[in-house]
C-alpha cells in the first residue's frame, strides 16, 4: 500500500531540511576557509589589522550571544568578561610568561572564577533586573581597575604587554597574529556550536522561552544560567586575551558600561541566537566604524541611529534576514 500523501510530504520536508542543513554547513565551511585564506589573497596589512580586531570582537559578541540569544539573559555588563580578561592575561604575560596557551588559560580560569561568584548572585534575576544588575557589577569591576593602581596601573592602564609566543616562538604582528585569531575564532565557534546543539543548549532555549515553565518541568534554571554565564565569560576571556596582545596594553575604559552597550549592539545587529550573526555584526561594526569615523565626525549619531532602526525593524539582525533569504532558497515545502 502506498504511503499517504501526507506522510510522503513530510518525508520530503525532512529531506529538504536536511539538504538545507548540509548546504548551510558547506557555506559555513566555505566562510571559515575564506577567513583563513584572507592573508593569502593579497589583502593589505591594514585590512588584516582591522579584520583581526573584528574577529576578536566576533568572539566576544558570540560569547554574549550565549546569554542574550540562547538563554534570554540580556547582560548590560558584558564588558566585564572582556576587560577583566585583558588585565588577567596582560598582567600574566608581562610578569610571568607570554605563552599564548598559558595566558589564555589564566584569563579563562580567572574569568570563570569571577563569573562563578557573580553568577551566584545574578542568576537569581532575569529580564531588566538582570541587565541592570550586570551593569552594576561591571561598574564595580571598572572602579576596582581604576583604584587598584599597584596591580592595574590605574587609569594609565597596562603599558607594554609583549607579543604572545606559541610553542616558544613569538607570534609576529600582522598576518601571523591574524591567523592565530582566525583559528581561535573557528575553534570557539565549533565548540560553542556543539554546546548550543547539545541537550544542555536545548534546555537553555526552554529557559529563554519561559523561565517559570522551565522550572515547573523540573529544570534547574539557576544552575543552567550559572553554567552558561561561566561559559560565556570564559569565551569573552579568550577574546580579551587576544585583544590585550593585539593592543599591547589594557585600559580600564574597556570595562566601562558604554563598552557593554557597544557589544550588546553588535550582537543584536548581527542577529542573536545564531552564533554566526554576532561575528558578522562585529565585522560590520569594526569596518563601518573605521570608515565613518575617518570620513565624518558623526559616529555617535550614526551608531545610535543604526541601533535604533535595527531594534525597531530587524530584531533578528543581519543573520535573521540572511536566514530568511536562505530559507526561501531552500524551502521546506515547495
Amino acid at each position: 500500500m502506498a504511503a499517504s500523501p501526507d506522510v510522503e510530504n513530510r518525508v520530503e520536508d525532512i529531506t529538504r531540511v536536511r539538504s538545507r542543513e548540509i548546504a548551510t554547513r558547506v557555506l559555513l565551511a566555505g566562510f571559515a576557509l575564506l577567513i583563513l585564506a584572507v592573508p593569502f589573497l593579497g589583502a593589505s596589512p591594514f585590512f588584516i589589522t582591522l579584520l583581526t580586531e573584528a574577529l576578536i570582537f566576533g568572539i566576544w559578541a558570540m560569547s554574549l550571544d550565549l546569554l542574550v540569544g540562547y538563554t534570554g539573559l540580556v547582560s548590560f555588563g558584558h564588558a566585564a568578561s572582556f576587560g577583566f580578561a585583558t588585565y588577567a592575561a596582560g598582567i600574566f604575560a608581562m610578569n610571568v610568561s607570554a605563552d599564548f596557551f598559558l595566558s589564555t588559560m589564566v584569563a579563562i580560569l580567572t574569568a570563570a572564577a569571577v563569573a562563578f561568584f557573580t553568577g551566584l548572585v545574578v542568576t537569581r534575576l532575569s529580564g531588566i533586573a538582570f541587565a541592570i544588575l550586570t551593569l552594576c557589577i561591571c561598574q564595580v569591576l571598572f572602579q576596582i581597575s581604576v583604584v587598584w593602581r599597584s596591580f592595574t596601573g590605574g587609569l594609565d592602564g597596562l603599558i607594554g604587554v609583549p607579543l604572545p609566543t606559541l610553542f616558544g616562538r613569538e607570534v609576529e604582528p600582522g598576518e601571523e597574529f591574524y591567523l592565530l585569531t582566525a583559528a581561535t575564532l573557528i575553534i570557539c565557534y565549533l565548540l560553542l556550536r556543539r554546546v548550543v546543539e547539545s541537550p544542555f543548549g536545548k534546555t537553555l532555549l526552554a529557559i529563554r522561552a519561559n523561565e517559570d515553565r522551565a522550572a515547573a518541568i523540573g529544570i534547574d534554571v539557576r544552575r543552567h544560567k550559572l553554567v552558561i554565564l561561566i561559559l560565556s565569560w570564559m569565551t569573552g576571556g579568550v577574546a580579551g586575551t587576544l585583544f590585550v596582545f593585539l593592543k599591547a596594553g589594557a585600559n580600564p575604559m574597556s570595562l566601562y558600561w558604554i563598552e557593554s552597550g557597544n557589544i550588546l549592539a553588535i550582537t543584536i545587529l548581527g542577529g542573536i541566537g545564531t552564533l554566526f550573526g554576532p561575528i558578522i555584526g562585529a565585522i560590520g561594526f569594526i569596518f563601518i566604524r573605521d570608515q565613518v569615523t575617518t570620513m565624518y565626525r558623526a559616529w555617535q549619531f550614526s551608531f545610535g541611529l543604526a541601533f535604533v532602526l535595527a531594534v525597531l525593524f530587524m530584531p533578528s539582525g543581519i543573520a535573521g534576514i540572511a536566514e530568511r533569504i536562505w530559507r526561501r532558497l531552500w524551502p521546506a515545502r515547495s
Binding site: I128, C136, L264, A265, G304, V308, L312
Partner: protein, 288 residues
Amino acid sequence: MDWNFLFVNSLNGIIYGSFLALTSLGLSLVFGLGRVVNFAHGVLYALGGYFFIIFLPSLGWSAMLFAPLVVVPLAIAMEWLTIAPIRNRDEIYTLLVTFGLSFMITGAIEYLWGTETTLIKPPVIFQGTVDILGNQFPVYRLFASTLSLLVTGLVFVFIQFTPVGLKIRAITDDNEMAEALGINTRWLLTSIFGGAAGFAAFAGALGAPIFSVEPEMGMGIIIDSFLAVILGGLGHLPGTAVGAFIVALAKSIGGGYIAEWAIAVLFLVVAAIMVLRPKGVFGRGRIA
C-alpha cells in the same frame, strides 16, 4: 570624630539628593506605568539644559519653564516613533531602543551646538554663599534643591489625590485590569512619558548654573538616577525619592571618608539590595 565635616557632607548629600529625586522621578514613573526603562532620560535632561541656554538671552530666567515646554513635544514624538511600536515586545527592547536614542541625541547635540561647555551664572539674587553653622553654602544650590523638593512633592500630591493620579496608580498596579476598567492607557502612557521628559528637562535647566551645560551631561546623571530608582523599587515614587537621598548621601559622605572607593561600594550595595530585596528597600515597587 569631626561632626562638622559629617554635617557638611550630609547637607551636600541632601542638596544633591533632592536634585536627584527630581531627575529620577520621571524615570520611575515611566517604568512603573509603561514598563519602559528609559535610558534616554539623561539626554532629555541634557536637552533641557541646552534649550534653557538658548532661550536665556531672550527670555531671561523664565527660560527655565520654557525649556521643558519644547522638550515635552519632542519626547512625545520620540515615544510615538520608537517606543509605542515595540510596546508589546519584551520590555528589555525599550532599554535597547532608548540606549540607541541616547547615543543619537548626544551626537545630534554635538552636531547642532558643538562640544563646548557653557557656564551659566545663577541669577543675581541667588549668587554668593550663606553661612550655616560656620560653613559656606551656595545660595543657588539651596534654592535649587528646595525647588526640586517642591516639584517632587507636587507630583506626589498629584498622583495621590487627583483622578488622573488614581488612573496612573491603577495602571502601575495592574495594567490589564486598568484597561479592562476603561482607562485609556495608550493616551496616559504617552502623556506620562511627555511629563516625565518635562521634569527631566526642567532638572537640566535648574542644574545648569551648578553643573554647566555640555553634550554628555546626561550620561552622569542617568546612572545615579537609575541607582536611585532601583533602590526605591521600580515604579514606587516615595521609594524613588528615598533612593535618591541614599545615593546622594552615599556619594557625599562616602566620598568624604573613603573617597575613590565610595562608588564601588555604592554599586555593591545596590547590587545587594536588588538581590535581597528585589522590590526595593520598602518592598513596595514592582518586581524588577
